[in-house]
């Protein structure tokens, strides 16, 4: 940072006064058609506190957060700010009361600079923008909380962690006293998570309140002063005490039953090579996306690919699945070349592929479960749905898919059930028996209960001798499931380690592009 201006950000500054809580929700009820999203929920956050709102998808935590920042209005109940009752008719009204939300999917203009994004929406701007003065103001706010940002940089060039920082600076610049952070660590590498926690600490030191919204029992919970658990729109428990939280107890509060997230690995020796990749490179529009990748996956083995999003994972999966032709190199499935032969040929060799985008790529949203089962299979000219129906019924039962039957439309399934349909189809084989399963972020966005099921299904498939390539941005998942871990960074495999002896710090460093051998 070259900037040392000491201008203070303009914006409302509320004195916390004697009121006990900075923001509280009292008996909030919010109904959506057919759903009681919040059922008399109480929630409060103190000045300088980190409070996590924990719950599965659909537990009502996002709805509550949306009401706390003014996006929705409660049907009944009310919100107080420093003990005073307030009505938040819009996110702008929320901002006027010093409440800001940092969404999981950032709302930034990629072509704008950091400073331009930060001031976007401010009403006190003069018609003619004085760029350097604005940049000074923005970096003054950022620096006062130890958030290093380059105000002149274009947002499109920034990493995900940096973009998140821009969102936080934007909220602070607008005078936020209470920050609601939606799944803040989901997109970050371990080093970035650490950095975020430092920033959070700096903010709470300055008296700001932080509300984390999360469905994961991860690091977020560990640095929280208090945790409130929601299930089915109701508060099921409060846990307080930094670092002393019992994750098993939290999981039980979230799901309503005991959860066992297994971390078993292949116990038996792995079999023959099912997937062989040699010197695989892919250039897209002259840019190298994958370079010189070589590895094998054996029968009964799960190989995990770790990496930060956008380092070539999607392209690797699509190249193996025959959706993209590599620039050079070769892919063999069960010993036969599948390079350049297309997705149907790859499937005939025994490939099954669960893409990250389950609704929209893996499944056709407007089609029924039955029709979706037909997607990767042979179909006659007159599509014979009647003969597939018994299998559909059997798979729905076997995979415990919550659906009204084979005619249930994919779009109307919950995330977990949609993923089960996709896994059911891919694991049960179509054009030939499944020998190689490529899965991308299989548990992303799923509930703890569904994660448990999906992981168990993957373990079963491995035990049954299928070769599995697990590509996931969820490092915990890769670490706990894989027999072998490869780290993908800028399209190259930069690190390889057995799953059992893998070190979080080493893998995390490799993901961030820091060399793990020699120069420290």
């Amino acid at each position: 940072m070259t900037n040392t201006s000491h201008e203070v950000a303009k914006g409302p500054h509320h004195e916390s006064g004697a009121a006990p809580s900075a923001l509280s929700a009292h008996s909030i009820v919010k109904r959506f058609p057919g759903v009681l999203a919040n059922d008399s929920v109480d929630f409060d956050v103190l000045p300088g506190e980190v409070h996590t709102l924990l719950g599965e998808n659909g537990a009502g935590k996002s709805t509550l957060a949306a009401m706390l920042c003014g996006l929705y209005q409660p049907d009944s109940g009310y919100i107080t700010r420093n003990g005073e009752r307030i009505a938040l008719s819009s996110p702008r009204a929320g901002l006027q009361h010093g409440i800001a939300m940092v969404h999981q999917h950032f709302r930034l203009v990629e072509r704008f600079t950091v400073a331009e994004n930060v001031i976007l929406g401010s009403r006190d701007l003069s018609f003619r923008l004085n760029r350097s003065e604005l940049e000074d103001r923005v970096s003054a706010v950022a620096e006062s909380f130890g958030l290093p940002i380059e105000p002149g940089a274009t947002v499109g060039d920034l990493s995900v962690g940096q973009r998140q920082r821009v969102e936080i600076v934007k909220a602070l610049y607008q005078g936020a006293e209470i920050l609601l952070l939606d799944e803040p660590t989901a997109v970050l590498v371990p080093a970035e998570v650490e950095k975020l926690f430092e920033n959070v600490h700096a903010m709470t030191q300055a008296g700001k309140s932080i509300v984390f919204i999360s469905h994961k029992l991860g690091e977020v919970v560990e640095i929280s002063d208090r945790v409130t658990v929601l299930r089915n729109g109701r508060v099921t428990g409060h846990v307080s005490g930094r670092g002393t939280t019992d994750t098993r107890e939290l999981a039980r509060l979230m799901v309503g039953r005991d959860i066992e997230l297994t971390t078993q690995r292949a116990s038996h020796a792995t079999g023959h090579e099912v997937l062989q990749i040699r010197d695989l490179s892919l250039n897209v529009g002259g840019v190298s996306v994958l370079s010189d990748i070589s590895f094998n996956v054996h029968a009964g083995e799960m190989v995990g690919i770790a990496g930060v999003a956008g380092n070539g994972q999607k392209e690797l999966a699509e190249t193996i699945a025959g959706l993209t032709s590599p620039t050079s190199g070769s892919i063999a499935i069960t010993g036969s070349m599948s390079t350049d032969r297309g997705p149907i040929h790859a499937r005939e060799l025994g490939l099954a592929y669960v893409p990250e985008d389950r609704l929209g790529m893996g499944l056709v949203p407007s089609m029924s479960i039955l029709d979706n089962l037909l997607l990767t299979r042979d179909r006659n000219f007159v599509v014979d749905r009647a003969s597939v129906e018994p299998e559909a019924v059997r798979l729905i039962e076997q995979f415990e898919i919550k659906a009204n039957g084979p005619e249930h439309i994919a779009r109307k399934l919950s995330g977990g059930n949609a993923q089960k349909v996709l896994l059911a189809r891919e694991l049960s084989g179509g054009r030939s028996a499944t020998k190689l399963l490529v899965v991308c972020s299989p548990t992303r966005g799923l509930d703890v209960g569904a994660i448990e099921t999906v992981r168990a299904l993957l373990n079963d498939a491995r035990s049954a001798g299928q070769a599995i390539l697990l590509i996931s941005e969820d490092l915990d998942e890769v670490m706990s499931l894989s027999d072998r871990i490869l780290v993908l960074y800028r399209g190259s495999i930069v690190h390889e380690t057995p799953g059992e002896s893998a070190q979080l710090a080493t893998v995390g460093a490799a993901m961030a592009g820091l060399s793990t051998e020699g120069n420290a």
């Binding site: 009505a87 009204a93 592929y353 893996g362 997607l375 990767t376 179909r379």
Partner: protein, 365 residues
């Protein structure tokens, strides 16, 4: 202090079944009400006008057969639009493909002359009309499937070219399509072997039943076959099609060609039916454009296209007769057609959202 009322649009999770019928129905009624206001403002009695239209369009044996006769071509252009729209391909050049179908059909009828029997001639004329319609959309279809060029622009612009082509063939002296040495700009009549006879004293031709059969066949094709399955996958999610190894380019091309052929069939239906010749008057009738409205009102449901095609035919033929029986302008039918489209599109909001008024609670602010 009275709190203000806000209108809230709440997205529906699921559209109730009854709304899919109710919304088009109310759209038609709303359009009639809007039309009534217009009639009142211009000094006509809406009730008389509508009663006349109803009896001329539907509620008399003469009226209903005229309506069904006219609906034959409108169902063709309607299904042409719906067939493309279902895959998010916006062929709005049905009008031009219709002209080409007429040119192709007339050419077949005139070129083959009286040498062939009717049971060969009629299918040939219809087939060539369809083929000419498909040919007219070939370029837009090809560039759309290969390069992603917007078919909206290309199909629309080619309609103007098609209209010029019709004029060229009719107004050029010595043209193949006109009577030799005749100064009168009108196409030659096709031979009797290429003409169908209407039922009794009506303007209803057997082609009506053929067109209904074609529509039902397409319905079956989309619902039951591999081809229809592909269409549904690509329409909903091109990425899923790619994932499953479905060739979207080829399907896009074929869907557009079939759409063009259906409008072309509409043109050929006019050759074997009421017109019997290449008639430059076709460019004034807008049957092809009406197909877009028919498809929109039917929400691309093929069997509903038959119903909305008949409804539109009734409005048109009822409106046309008004001018004769009363002095109400002929354009009332066309105006109602436009109004129905506007209300049907606006009505989509009611299908997608639950709309209700709430009183915003205001506390200390």
């Amino acid at each position: 202090m009275r709190s203000p009322i806000r209108i809230v649009f709440e997205q529906r999770n699921e559209t109730p079944k009854y709304l899919s019928t109710l919304v088009p129905l109310i759209s038609v009624i709303a359009a009639l009400v809007a039309g009534a206001l217009f009639l009142l403002a211009t000094g006509y009695s809406p009730i008389d006008t509508y009663t006349n239209m109803l009896s001329d369009g539907f509620a008399s044996s003469r009226g209903i057969t005229d309506t069904l006769g006219l609906s034959t071509v409108l169902i063709c252009t309607g299904i042409s639009a719906a067939f493309a729209f279902q895959m998010n391909l916006y062929n709005i050049g049905g009008e031009g493909q219709l002209y080409l179908g007429m040119i192709g059909g007339a050419w077949a009828g005139l070129a083959l002359g009286d040498r062939l029997p009717s049971f060969v001639m009629i299918p040939t004329v219809l087939l060539l009309g369809a083929l000419a319609g498909a040919l007219w959309i070939l370029i837009p279809a090809y560039v759309r499937s290969r390069l992603g060029t917007s078919e909206i622009v290309t199909t629309l612009l080619l309609t103007y070219v098609a209209a010029s082509l019709v004029d060229h063939f009719v107004y050029t002296p010595g043209s193949f399509f006109v009577t030799k040495n005749s100064a009168f700009p009108q196409g030659r009549l096709v031979p009797d072997s290429a003409s169908l006879t209407a039922f009794g004293n009506t303007s209803l031709y057997p082609t009506f039943f053929l067109v209904v059969l074609v529509t039902l066949t397409l319905f079956w094709l989309v619902k039951r076959t591999e081809y229809g399955y592909r269409i549904q996958v690509i329409a909903d999610s091109p990425r899923a099609a790619h994932y499953a190894g479905i060739n979207a380019n080829r399907t896009t091309l074929s869907v557009m060609l079939i759409s063009g052929a259906l409008s072309g069939l509409g043109g050929a239906v006019l050759i074997v039916g009421p017109f019997g010749r290449l008639d430059p008057g076709i460019t004034m009738l807008g049957y092809g454009y009406a197909g877009i409205v028919i498809a929109a009102l039917a929400r691309n449901n093929f069997s509903a296209v038959i119903v909305s095609g008949i409804l539109f035919a009734g409005l048109r033929s009822g409106g046309d007769k008004l001018q004769i029986s009363t002095d109400t302008p002929i354009h009332i039918g066309v105006m109602l057609q436009g109004a129905i489209l506007l209300f049907a599109l606006g009505g989509e909001a009611f299908r997608r959202y639950r709309i209700h008024a709430v009183r915003t609670e205001r506390t200390a602010q």
